[in-house]
Assembly symmetry: D2
Homo-oligomer: 116 residues x 4
């Protein structure tokens, strides 16, 4: 993992200990919390057109940044709880995606890999 | 942002360009994709007890790591599309959470900040 | 509740008993399953434009109908587990929405009620 | 569909017309809104144990009923927009589930059908 994500890990761990919150932080609960925050993130987009979503002003960007942050905080806590390095996992998944979506077949096409 | 997340940003950008996928990657669509992956992550936990979720074997951990990776990949793409530094945003949100959940009131308590 | 939803309730209860699945059907787990299915529903839309989503062919409609069905099945099971009549609750919520979104202020406007 | 769901359909259609909201109600957006409400529903459970979720008092039940209602309202609107009868779809899916999860193999087992 990277240094600043390691910082986040350390701070989140301390934050939860100070508040005696580890009892609530089963991986099951952390996964639920991550989904809930992802929903709050999506709420900012639900009635917008795709074009409007490409033209955010600073106020909207800040609101979305706060929700993105919440998702990342739970992602890091869940990864830590399960002994997963999220960046390494993402690197591995990207390599796998290169195989699942070869350029010649996937180019300009949004179909899922099992429909290519 | 950190170096390895910057690497991910660069690789994801190249991955999408090679496949002419930027047309599908409006922030609105990326936010939807993030939620969809978060749901796939939660699916691994939905019938488990909290205790079982604390006792994952390597096979289950790898399956969850792949889903966590998918969430992180979309989180990074969405942040990039909106000009947001997700780690900086997470750091700022953690500071805000320290104010919303003061230790003396939040200790041992899972209530939301507006119910403390 | 209505007759055919009552039928569904009865059939779902029998379905779970036959399989000794009530042990997994805590409201917490049913709520998670509902979200997971909602994500699978959204997956059919994530890369489509709004216009494409208005022009579904029969194959796509059937795929979406199956996911909608999954969401409704968990919604009914969760409502039953908590002693909630979902149609009555929906009627009540619609009345409340009429107050939260008065026509003169909400017309043509997608803002949330606390921003009107 | 059933009478009271038909009532809901009619009322929701009128509600949206009065507010000139059909422009926002592409199936893509309705599916997003459904997921967002499902997340708000799950938020009520995220830090609870399964046992606590089986022991709701009236206040919590009412809060959850309001979220369940929101999910049902969007489910009905999405079904209507796509010409889907949600109860018929649920009946059909339940029959399919009986085949995917035969009692002798699925009894007492929470595994997904492709792992049975």
């Amino acid at each position: 993992m990277t240094d600043s994500l390691r910082d986040l890990v350390r701070q989140l761990d301390q934050f939860a200990r100070d508040r005696d919150w580890q009892q609530f932080h089963s991986p099951k609960n952390l996964a639920s919390a991550l989904v809930v925050e992802a929903g709050e993130l999506l709420e900012h987009f639900q009635w917008l057109t795709e074009q409007q979503s490409r033209e955010f002003g600073p106020e909207k960007r800040n609101a979305v940044a706060a929700e993105l942050a919440d998702v990342l905080l739970y992602l890091v806590q869940l990864a830590t709880a399960l002994g997963i390095d999220p960046v390494a996992a993402a690197q591995a998944k990207l390599k796998l995606n290169e195989l699942k979506y070869p350029v010649d077949r996937a180019r300009g096409n949004s179909k899922k890999y099992d429909e290519l």
